[in-house]
Symmetry: D2
Subunit: 350 residues, 4 copies
């Protein structure tokens, strides 16, 4: 049996290991991909740390990783239209394809969704198997690192493109990797003025680099007053909440203008108390909960932004580690001061 | 100086009085209306009881009442297109007309809005003055009682018509007057199955009469299980939250299907704690805070529904009292067992 | 080899024959259905008559028929979730599933679409094979005849549900079967006033029966004046063009109000000359070309309308013929005076 | 009586004159503006040349001009919120404000609209009077020349912002001034690839300068083949038709992809013959007729694009002439080789 190296949760406890494991076997409808690079997501950090959510969801052993790029090395016998050797990534949300939601353009919230690297073995490995339906070919002109982060970048495009930001003022609350992506994507999509809130100085600086017109530190500055002053007292048209922080969630509702739109992508760990009457109902707000990506509208639009060089995510990719130094990558990703951390699985970067 | 009878808050304390007061003088841009009927709103009950909100908002003395119908008796000299003697009601939200929101179709959330019977003297009086811009002529074919409740009925149309209910399953949480209206309006707009939750047996019965397919008592029945059972396990497409009750708000988020739409109209008195990650973000929900009516899209659509007899609100109008028995009307409205209570100001009904 | 009876175009010339032909063999991803009833569509009539379009598109021999209901009798070995004996129909547009359009909710306009009974053998036969992906199970509560016409009924739902007709005035130009369906569906979806134009007296009468408020004969009455008179001079909000007649197309643009919406479903045979400046651009119209059904949003909504008895198409189904009298059915369908004609394949109705 | 210089149509015949005429008197609801600059529109050229449309619409004598910037010099006594000396332009479509369309966000297609410089005396004059409701203050940071062309620039924003171009491929047919604006605005709003068609070499060069990725000469190149080749055979997502040329109108329908969107702004002089079945209905297109600007959504968004320097129209403003050389300006504007021509009324540029 062929072997490969993989980063996995071996047992139901904190920590991950890099081990040799069997290389996956594909079914007739699947494709085997040799992984080149893979991105570390906050979800991976949670599984590493073994938080409550991870304990309830993850069955061990489990190979992590759902953001990746690689090349097709084996093709299931019922799969057509896929070329061996071609560069691909995949939509890591495997929806059922048969339910009402899947059949009406809502596959991103299919209740039967299995997630790569969470419910099935993932891409922090030399090889990963994925259903052919979820493959996404990487066209020429897309750098490898951009391809490796289609998943989180897609989240940023989803959050921006469903908010109709053209000619509008936008506040991004929280400048982790997806928040940083969202700043640049909002600018590329025509947002006229982009504010951001962030507590870490390095991320604040990156936010400015990505095109934020002003970055506010919510611990030392009066976010609401600043936003009011810079928007003729009206508040921003759109809030993109990327932090999951309860204070940021409440603040977003305060500083969006009446009739505005709020996109919630960041995941609060606990219930959040909100003044719905004052901050949502009387303001006539629309709130949209953002999960995953619209299949596959978001990725088609993203591909066009990337190929046309209307948006360049390179500045947000700040760290690369080879597979054997994955712990260093996880530490960086968990520290809240970096952009996206990429694991170089195949040694492409080293 | 001409006098008139009016129901007013005389001093900053609980209670209302029926007194003789001066008849209002109109400006060049206003119209004086002799009131025929006026509806009692929950807001009026709050002002009567002098709750926290009322104490913070109401300046005394103040004549209450913002739902009404009457006939034009005096016309400001700069007003055109209004005929003396014609039947009218008025949009009781007086927006500024000049701000960004007013100039972009969001007058319903204009921050400078003054509300009739709250910030200016209202329609629980023999005469009321209103800005000509806000007048709404009542065409032939609209009964007087329907005209008297255009304001709350408009709220129901707003909540339904912005939810795209055609061919969809709908849950209405809370069967006060606006909830009861919403049931019938949802049916008229093509909702395929309408569920309602309500604790009061009389209102539950009315909900069935208005066209609810099933009314559930959330204290004795398992709302979630029933909804799941009757929607192939998917949940409803749309929730119209009309109660402001925290449990109903949370329940609405649980029983709406993934990708669904939730309309919040009921006003919770305090902050509400919500599991946003599980119940909003992972579900990919859209939530819309409903306040007032879209000026004047909602009323034009409502007029067409009413004139075409696609919807008939008569069943929800359950109580009429003459002006001198207003206390009885308020007691009924506050009891949570009736439909809409109308004050017969001119003796039309007696 | 098993045989079956089928109505087919034997050679590239006018006419159809009823013959014994081999029963179809299914692939692993297909299902064999024993047909109970099938509807005659205008497209079938064109193929029968062998018009220009048919001559360019149809390869003979070809079994016609794309509207049908039947029961599953054989299930391909890779198909899951389908029960032998269950009642089904199918979406007869077989889109490729892989192109950009298919992957972004636009499968109804996939350029690779193959149409049942046009590009593959159809349902005017005792047995028909269909891809499992396109199967649509018929739930209890849906009469057999309704199931047999899901295809054209879906067109009517598509045309109405994409036009947001709630509280609006609607003109349906042309009262063939789909136009007649559209009248009732528009009413069920909340249209406040439905006008129709039609030249045939029988169809005009049916239009009234289906809920049209007024049916106008464009040859003897002044359509524009009547519409203006009955809409306060504004014109209708929405036009549903179902005839393909150039005069009706032009008239629809004249009588829709400024800012209104026009849905084009009827297929003109030749190019049509339009005054775009006056009738489209200065009016600020939106025009939508309606083809097929949104997969599968339209059918889910339709199922709910039908199951909830919000709409009943029975009145539009006017003629049934047994298979051997198919010529009579085609003659009726071609005459322009009937509603939908159904071929009773299995003798269910006889 | 005070006098001023103005460019006007003196009599019902071709030609314009520069004459001394009485300075306009304002009403209580109007404002008098001293004009600084004014743009020449194709409409002005038509009035100059006295084409059929102009002969039917214009009453002489009439001062032309509806694109302008100037400073407030006199304020009607019922006008509030306007400061003497402030820079302004105005929405030149004076809608009635009272009709259903005006009250439901469709003022841009109000049938009672009067147009500045067409139905009332315009801005090719030292002074112009405008209703206060239509004033648009020019904030700091907007150059005078940009302010002078808010009207046609607003058309370009209208055509782009209602087409949802983010991440999409766009074809602009016709590179007159509004077409040239539209190219840049589409890029600023996130269009991933912008094609243009144009016959004049100078305008083609300008189109490239404004950000078109490729400009095609429809007389010498195969537009359809080029578009197919560069869009994976799919066609463009969006066509912005700015020419009014029948061939361009037909070509736009051919090269837009199925399910795509077509915006018609250019005004064909005669009826146009279209293959609706093949090119609109079977393709499932949406077509939108663009007239004027959405009041005032378009201008608010435009202001944000301009203030945030997300879009800069300077490159499209190619010619300036002093008032006395207006004939030269009209000749240039009519020649089809320039960008926007501005008349410097006050000598600001000289």
């Amino acid at each position: 049996m062929k072997k490969m190296r993989a980063i996995l949760k071996r047992a139901a406890e904190p920590g991950l290991v890099l081990e040799e494991v069997p290389r996956p076997e594909i079914t007739a409808d699947e494709v085997l991909v040799r992984v080149r690079m893979a991105g570390i997501c906050g979800t991976d950090v949670h599984i590493h740390h073994w938080n409550d959510w991870a304990q309830g969801r993850i069955k061990t052993p489990r190979i992590l990783g759902h953001e990746f790029v690689g090349e097709v090395v084996e093709i299931g016998k019922r799969v057509s239209g896929v070329t061996a050797g071609s560069l691909v990534t995949a939509e890591g949300h495997f929806s059922c394809g048969n339910c009402t939601l899947c059949r009406t353009g809502n596959a991103h919230v299919c209740p039967q969704t299995q997630i790569l690297g969470v419910d099935t073995d993932g891409a922090f490995a030399e090889y990963v198997r994925v259903p052919a339906t979820n493959l996404w070919p990487i066209p020429e002109g897309i750098p490898l690192e951009w391809a490796a982060i289609h998943d989180p970048l897609g989240n940023a495009f989803h959050v921006v493109l469903t908010a109709d930001v053209g000619g509008k003022t936008v506040l991004v609350t929280g400048c982790g990797p997806i928040g940083l992506f969202a700043i640049g994507v909002a600018r590329a999509a025509g947002a006229s003025r982009v504010f951001a809130t962030e507590v870490d100085p390095q991320r604040s600086k990156m936010a400015l680099g990505e095109g934020a017109d002003r970055v506010i530190d919510p611990r030392t500055e009066d976010v609401r007053k600043i936003i009011q002053d810079e928007t003729r007292g009206e508040g921003v048209h759109v809030v993109l909440e990327m932090s999951g922080n309860p204070e940021a969630l409440r603040q977003g509702l305060r500083v969006v203008r009446n009739g505005g739109r709020v996109q919630w992508l960041g995941l609060p760990e606990n219930s959040v108390s909100l003044d719905l009457t004052r901050d949502v109902i009387f303001k006539g707000l629309t709130i949209y909960g953002v999960t995953g990506r619209l299949m596959y509208d978001t990725w088609y639009a993203m591909r066009n932004f990337l190929l046309g060089r209307r948006y360049d995510p390179s500045g947000v990719i700040t760290n690369r580690v080879p597979m054997e130094r994955f712990e260093e990558g996880f530490t960086t990703a968990a520290a809240g001061q970096s952009g996206k951390v990429i694991i170089d699985v195949s040694g492409s970067n080293t």
